[in-house]
């Protein structure tokens, strides 16, 4: 038997609320299948299964608040007999008392564009389709106004609640608390050191302009994707930065999953993973990055995207920031920041010329690496960005 437990989806997540089971008892599941939708302080998350077999038992019901690590379901793996019915229930439900309310949208509802940002949880989208409800006409009560399962259920019943933003405000407050706890823990436990370097981007931007000139608008690249790929490749040379701190020691990750800091419109941020970023080509990486940003802001992330990052990359250049002094997201041991691309005087071949440059910074855990290795990482990052065609 394999236990399906409430996963930890962030450094300080202690519990999640089951929104919906995506599988039934007796149904076959394969590793990687979405088995449940769970609501956390940051977003509604599609939780993936880590075993292949038959669902033997579901121990929680929608609405239950479940501590991290608690068994929620039991999966009978291939070739195993069905469990005896006397197996003890491992989860004790704690009913949730709060009920979201629905406000009809008084604005003009328009059909969403393909791929546009309608904030709706996956379960709600499915239920809306099943019930023949157009979700674009609803105002959601989830994070940042996301339409939740309850919103669709109420819409189906014709229920109309009192207008309120209390739930959204509460979600914002809880997200802030979660970030605060993670960052306080980081600053309390991790001895940070910081390095930065200024990188000449003239080659990278010239290559990007030419490349985008050849591409249709739907396939163009952003410079931030070059940064992400370059970080991923540079980590191969300095692998100690691609690690997690577990039980008093650093455990290097064989795979490079870049957590990309994505700001949410109503405040707060999430840094979900671009898995195996070092192995993806720029076009694939761009496509996955676009999808990740869209789903992050729609509140539709998968559990592995929140639990798997091995390092975080954050870009604050669009806010006018020139240098980032980032706080490491535990249990990661490093964070790479990029500032604004600016024109600066640059000495090349004995001449002072204007060049577009960016300041790349590294925040790293001194328990795991030292400044020498951090410096090598930034030097490698610089070298990679001088050869954009090879990324």
């Amino acid at each position: 038997m394999a236990d399906f437990v409430m996963p930890t989806l962030g450094a300080d997540m202690t519990e999640g609320t089951l929104v919906q089971w995506k599988k039934r008892v007796g149904e076959r599941v394969t590793k990687g299948d979405i088995i449940a939708e769970v609501d956390t302080d940051k977003a509604a998350i599609e939780v993936e299964c880590h075993a292949t077999g038959i669902i033997e038992r579901l121990l929680a019901k929608p609405g239950d608040k479940i501590p991290v690590g608690t068994v929620m379901a039991v999966i009978r793996e291939e070739g195993q007999p069905a469990a005896a019915p006397s197996r003890p229930q491992l989860f004790t439900p704690q009913p949730v008392s709060t009920q979201p309310v629905l406000q009809p949208d008084t604005g003009t509802a328009a059909s969403p564009l393909p791929g546009s940002r309608l904030r709706i949880s996956p379960a709600a989208r499915t239920l809306a389709a099943e019930r023949g409800i157009d979700p674009t006409g609803l105002r959601g009560t989830g994070p940042e106004g996301a339409i939740t399962l309850d919103d669709i259920t109420r819409a189906a019943k014709g229920a109309v609640g009192v207008a309120t933003s209390a739930n959204a405000a509460d979600r914002q407050a809880r997200m802030r608390q979660t970030i605060a706890a993670a960052m306080a823990r980081s600053k309390r436990e991790i001895p940070h050191y910081y390095l930065s370097t200024t990188i000449d981007l003239s080659r990278a931007l010239a290559w990007l302009t030419a490349e985008n000139g050849r591409r249709p608008v739907t396939e163009r690249l952003l410079v931030s994707v070059l940064f992400i790929k370059a970080v991923a490749l540079a980590l191969r040379q300095v692998p100690e930065l691609n690690a997690l701190w577990k039980e008093g020691e650093a455990v290097r990750s064989e795979r490079i999953h870049i957590g990309t800091a994505i700001s949410l419109r109503q405040g707060g941020l999430v840094a979900p993973a671009l898995h195996d970023a070092d192995r993806a080509g720029l076009s694939e990486l761009m496509q996955r990055f676009q999808d990740l940003v869209k789903r992050t802001r729609a509140g539709s992330l998968r559990s592995s995207e929140l639990s798997d990052p091995t390092i975080t990359v954050t870009s604050l250049g669009e806010q006018g920031v020139e240098t980032v002094f980032g706080v490491i997201y535990p249990p990661q041991v490093a964070l790479v920041g990029f500032g604004k691309v600016v024109e600066r005087p640059w000495v090349a071949d004995g001449l002072v010329v204007p060049r577009p440059v960016v300041t790349a910074s590294l925040s790293a855990d001194h328990r795991v690496s030292d400044g020498h290795r951090g410096g090598l990482f930034l030097a490698e990052l610089d070298r990679l960005l001088q050869e954009p065609h090879a990324l």
Binding site: A110, P112, L113, P114, G115, S116, R117, L118, R119, E144, G145, T209, N212, G213, V217, T218, R220, L222, V223, S224, S263, R265, Q266, F289, Q290, V293, K294, E318
Partner: protein, 85 residues
């Protein structure tokens, strides 16, 4: 013969596209001569998605070098109108 959409229709469509990119924005208060990115806090990804939406809706080619022309409501409307002449 299909009638040419009016400028008002074009602007309404552009605003609808922006509403999809930034659903929380108060588009009624948008200054048509000021950059969307400044008024709506759009990042590069948002703006790229907006350009793609313009391309798909109005069937216009938008080279990257022309992006600055699409930064305001008036600019977008002018570019769409020009593409029809």
């Amino acid at each position: 013969m299909t009638p040419t959409p009016s400028d008002a229709d074009t602007r309404a469509q552009i605003l609808r596209l922006l509403g999809e990119i930034a659903p929380e924005a108060d588009l009624a208060a948008l200054n048509p001569d000021v950059s969307f990115r400044d008024q709506l806090d759009l990042d590069s990804m948002d703006f790229l998605n907006f350009v793609v939406a313009l391309h798909n809706t109005f069937h216009i080619e938008i080279p990257e070098s022309d992006y600055p022309k699409y930064l305001t409501l008036n600019g977008c409307a002018a570019q769409v109108a020009a593409s029809r002449t």
